[in-house]
């Protein structure tokens, strides 16, 4: 899932201050799971903003809505009437959601209420960790399902480095050494011979360093 964090309320206030009618639009998929952009978070932020602005004697009407997925036009469409009733939209979605809204509602300002941080998983309730950098050329099969590009602080493809200590990373001891995890997992799978193979330098062309990426499925394009 895409993981994000809500922006500080004061920063949000600075961006919405010129508007009298605001729609806070949540997204019911990734950011809902990480407690940032679902119905509850939309309601809590709306309440916090009303309380904050009331103290400053600033009047604002806030409408709340959450769509299933802000990054898809079919779902965004459900918010069209609410968008039309308001001067601006504060999106509690990832950057893709914000941009999808901006594209769909070209004449309405769309403001981000979330800092999009990474693609990750929920390790346990309340703890989210980065697992994928979307490098465009997945190598997880070689590394036993553990990504050294994301989870090794040095992005080593031929690890480990000399800084792995008791299964922890020397860059941050709170981080598990990805290479220790890779070795343990490959051993468990009986694939430790993978460790003897030299992995050549990665081709980063499919990653973001080649500019904005596209994925085309010709059979779905009319």
């Amino acid at each position: 899932m895409i993981v994000g964090e809500q922006k500080p309320v004061r920063e949000i206030i600075d961006t919405i201050i010129r508007y009298k009618k605001l729609l806070i639009l949540g997204c019911g998929t990734c950011v809902k799971t990480c407690f940032v952009g679902g119905e509850d978070e939309v309601a809590a932020l709306a309440s916090a903003l009303r309380l904050a602005l009331k103290q400053e004697d600033r009047k604002i009407e806030i409408e709340e809505q959450t769509v299933e997925r802000q990054c898809e036009n079919e779902f965004i469409q459900e918010a069209a009437n609410a968008v039309a009733r308001n001067e601006a939209v504060l999106s509690l979605a990832c950057g893709a959601g914000v941009q999808a809204l901006a594209k769909r509602f070209g004449d309405t300002p769309v403001l981000p209420g979330v800092n999009t941080t990474f693609i990750g998983i929920q390790q346990k309730p309340g703890l989210f960790t980065e697992e994928c950098q979307g490098c465009g050329n997945c190598v997880l099969a070689v590394f036993g399902g553990i990504c050294p590009i994301t989870r090794c602080s040095k992005k080593l493809l031929n690890g480990p480095c000399g800084g792995s200590q008791k299964g922890r990373c020397e860059i941050n001891p709170e981080t598990e050494c990805a290479w220790q995890l890779i070795i343990d997992r490959l051993t468990l799978l009986g694939q430790h011979k993978n460790l003897r193979a030299y992995i050549p330098p990665k081709n980063w062309q499919p990653s973001i360093s080649g500019g904005p990426r596209k994925y085309i499925r010709e059979d779905h394009i009319i």
Partner: protein, 135 residues
């Protein structure tokens, strides 16, 4: 500072933490507007409920939870405390005194607990006054 003649206090409470009938009879005799909100477990409290209590006019909000080792749902009191702590940070961000929100462990066997809690809240509010709204 404007004095609060009759403070508005919202108490969220676990149904296992206080005797609601006894509490209501006590509240009746005091010069406080108290809104009691019963929850099956205090862990059901959320930031949005607490914030909306302030929006609805509460001068102070308290969440009464069972002692941590007596929670029927094992971790309910701990969860409630964490949610209150998070909401306190939101209050700080929006310029409201964190002292207006509290989480307090209460045992149902302590029949004077709510009385003492309300006295403390009212005493605290005499320092804080009403929620500041720009003129």
């Amino acid at each position: 500072m404007t004095k609060l003649d009759k403070p508005n206090v919202t108490l969220f409470h676990c149904i296992n933490s206080i005797d609601e009938k006894l509490t209501k009879s006590y509240i009746h005799k005091r010069n406080i507007n108290v809104k009691l909100i019963s929850l099956p477990c205090s862990s059901l409290v959320k930031d949005v409920y607490l914030l909306r209590a302030f929006e609805a006019g509460a001068d102070a909000v308290a969440v009464l939870v069972c002692p941590e080792n007596q929670c029927r749902h094992l971790q309910g009191s701990i969860r409630a405390r964490k949610r209150v702590e998070r909401t306190k940070k939101i209050l700080e961000e929006i310029g409201l005194d964190q002292e207006r929100l509290s989480v307090i462990n209460v045992s149902i066997t302590d029949q004077l607990a709510v009385s003492k809690i309300l006295q403390e809240i009212v005493a605290g509010l005499s320092d804080l006054g009403p929620i500041r709204v720009a003129a």
